[in-house]
């Protein structure tokens, strides 16, 4: 039940071992107001799984159900073959890192880390050894006798991690643990968290609303929306091949277009035709997505590149500089907008034209993601 910290045998997560944590038919919340409704989620041993979704999507409820703080209305949670659904949190052998760290303010760092070990009645010597080991793991060897309030946010975060890892949990649950840190520290902790996970090999379930964080850290990402899993896959899968419109828009804020294929590589959005699409049979309904960074802007009439379709004409609505890139918004003839991201090349060579300038937005047909084909005909939805 309690795997080793495995400090000495760095191990790649074993992709084949399945069925470590099995969640089946999990439902939580009240009848009529289901916060969570999961068919099935299988977490593999040693993997880093992110639960990604907007606030209110049920991701915290899912985590709290696994931890045992929320009693699900239906379903089973099985960890290593044992059904833990009805067990109280303190008999599940899981570790948890809280968003606000939840360090015991009346105990030293060492006492915090030793807390779970004392509960397990480990000998003094072993306790001391494991506390030292855990603090070394997070790089806080010298801080054992400090109080939590004497530490910075990043240090508190590390203590919380050490405390949870010291009990050698079967699974470590992390509830948005990086969201209280400033941007620079957050990036550093992200790298370190991943490194620690690689070293100890503990299965980690990481809840976040930050897509960048999920993409950078995870072996797999479960995108949650409205209490259901929209997509479960590796970071590049969910980014490159989003399964649903929601995933495409939530991760990478893609432009989503819905219309009828013209048969000549165009999509009729209802009066307005957008060109440069992969071949779709004429008359078929389709929903497609185009990433903002895949869109190029050229002046109307300029010869387009050989691989470039005509795309669609419009005017620049606004542009803003974001350091490494420009963000622009192109207003199309029917009023909808396309968002465009243009990497900055320095010296202003790639700057998009100013607001009000007519432009042609174009892209490589290979970059167009087809989300739905032949579905029921619905009114065109907004493009962002």
């Amino acid at each position: 039940m309690e795997p080793d910290l495995r400090l000495n045998e760095p191990d790649e997560p074993d992709e084949r071992a399945a069925g470590h944590v099995e969640i089946e038919g999990l439902a939580a919340g009240y009848e009529g107001a289901r916060v969570l409704d999961l068919d099935r989620l299988s977490i593999r041993k040693g993997e880093f799984l992110s639960i990604l979704g907007p606030s209110g999507c049920g991701k915290t409820t899912l985590l709290n159900s696994i931890a045992g703080f929320v009693r699900p209305a239906a379903g089973r949670i099985v960890i290593d073959g044992e059904d833990v659904t009805g067990r109280p949190p303190y008999r599940r052998g899981l570790g948890m890192v809280f968003q606000n760290y939840a360090l015991f303010p009346h105990m030293t760092v060492a006492a915090n880390v030793a807390y779970g070990l004392r509960v397990r009645r480990l000998g003094k010597a072993e306790q001391a050894e494991r506390v030292g080991e855990a603090l070394r793991l997070v790089g806080l060897e010298g801080y054992a006798e400090r109080r939590p309030k004497q530490l910075s946010g990043g240090q508190q975060q590390r203590v919380a991690l050490a405390r949870a890892l010291a009990i050698r949990p079967a699974v470590l649950l992390l509830d948005e643990p990086l969201s209280n840190l400033d941007a620079k520290l957050r990036r550093e902790m992200r790298v370190e968290l991943r490194a620690i996970q690689r070293r100890v090999g503990t299965t980690m379930v990481f809840v976040t609303h930050d897509q960048e964080e999920a993409l950078a850290l995870s072996d797999r990402i479960a995108v949650l929306n409205g209490g259901r899993i929209e997509q479960l896959g590796t970071p590049d899968e969910v980014y490159r091949r989003p399964a649903t419109r929601f995933v495409a828009q939530f991760i990478g804020a893609a432009n989503v277009l819905e219309g009828t294929a013209t048969g000549t590589g165009g999509l009729d959005l209802g009066g307005l035709v957008v060109n440069a699409l992969p071949g779709l049979p004429e008359g078929e309904r389709a929903v497609v997505a185009i990433r903002p960074e895949r869109v190029r802007l050229t002046a109307p009439g300029t010869a387009a590149g050989p691989e470039t379709g005509a795309g669609v004409a419009g005017t620049v609505g606004y542009r803003s500089f974001a350091g490494d890139a420009w963000h622009a918004e192109v207003r199309l003839a029917d009023g909808r907008t396309l968002s465009v991201r243009i990497a900055d090349t320095g010296a202003g060579a790639s700057d998009p034209p100013g607001a009000g300038t007519p432009v042609v937005a174009s892209w490589d047909p290979a970059d167009v993601i087809v989300l739905e084909r032949g579905g029921a005909s619905r009114p065109a939805t907004e493009a962002r």
Binding site: F69, P88, A102, F104, H106, Y115, V119, A164
Partner: protein, 292 residues
């Protein structure tokens, strides 16, 4: 605190707002106290009338006659006992109140907790008089269950005083403790649980240590109030109870010796201030050892 910068806040001369209160308190609180202090140094003549002049004889009486100084010791002991009882009783109630989510039951429990504050001390105490009287519920239960052959003399006994005073002051312990418990981060309990600690260990190792500030506040308030309470012990315990408040009342209402009553009052005040400060100091050391 803020708005000290001239011309930026609505309150620049905040003292103006405090003036009515200051006048009121000086006229009705400080002046009477000072006059009472003066009285405590007055000699008495025939029929215990206060005379002009200065003497320490009233204080000499207070500190030499066991009738007086014994009551001071007994009062301090009683206040300490009541404070301990109140904290012990307050804990389960405050815990239940703090844990319960908003709803009808929580509102009801809260009303029960503050109900003694909203009813006259006379009413609350009278309830105990009824409960503890010879034909009261407690005695009938004692006889019915065969614990006693005949009704016990519960009224006018020291235990009755302790019970009634504890009841009257219990809300003052529950309220700060509920605030302290309610302010605890729920994640601390959850963290303790995920680390394997069950409800009892979580309570003893996390909840209790972190709620100590509320315990201390409640204990000090109860102690200070118990030092000066006199209506409740008078009603359930009778005028013979050796408590200072009752002795003062007795001196004023039946002996008419105001100067010695005044001296006894100030002895009580001094004892209250000193022992409360002492207790606060002990608690502070204790807390510092715990919280670093």
């Amino acid at each position: 605190m803020t708005s000290a910068v001239p011309g930026t806040g609505a309150v620049r001369r905040g003292w103006w707002y405090v003036l009515p209160l200051a006048v009121f308190l000086v006229a009705l609180f400080l002046v009477p106290l000072v006059r009472l202090l003066r009285l405590s140094f007055s000699p008495v003549g025939p029929y215990n009338a206060a005379l002009p002049g200065w003497t320490l004889s009233q204080y000499a009486r207070v500190f030499t006659e066991p009738y007086f100084y014994g009551s001071l010791l007994r009062t301090a002991g009683t206040a300490l006992l009541v404070a301990v009882l109140c904290v012990l009783l307050a804990y389960p109630a405050a815990y239940a109140l703090a844990r319960r989510r908003a709803g009808v039951l929580r509102t009801l429990l809260f009303v029960i907790v503050i109900s003694p504050l909203l009813t006259s001390v006379v009413v609350r105490t009278y309830g105990w008089v009824v409960l503890l009287s010879g034909t009261g519920v407690v005695n009938r239960a004692l006889v019915a269950t065969g614990l006693r052959d005949q009704p016990a003399q519960l009224l006018t006994s020291y235990p009755a005083v302790v019970i009634a005073v504890t009841h009257v002051l219990l809300p003052f312990a529950i309220i700060p403790l509920t605030t302290a418990l309610g302010g605890l981060d729920r994640n601390l309990h959850r963290a303790s649980q995920t680390l394997g600690a069950g409800p009892v260990r979580t309570f003893l190792r996390v909840t209790v240590p972190l709620s100590l500030p509320g315990v201390v506040t409640g204990a000090l308030i109860v102690f200070a109030l118990a030092m000066g309470i006199y209506i409740t012990p008078l009603l359930v315990g009778g005028v013979t109870q050796p408590l200072t408040g009752i002795r003062v009342y007795d001196q004023v209402s039946t002996v008419f010796d105001y100067p010695v009553a005044a001296a006894l009052s100030f002895a009580l005040l001094a004892l209250t201030v000193v022992s409360t400060a002492l207790l606060a100091g002990v608690f502070r050391i204790w807390e510092r050892r715990l919280h670093g």
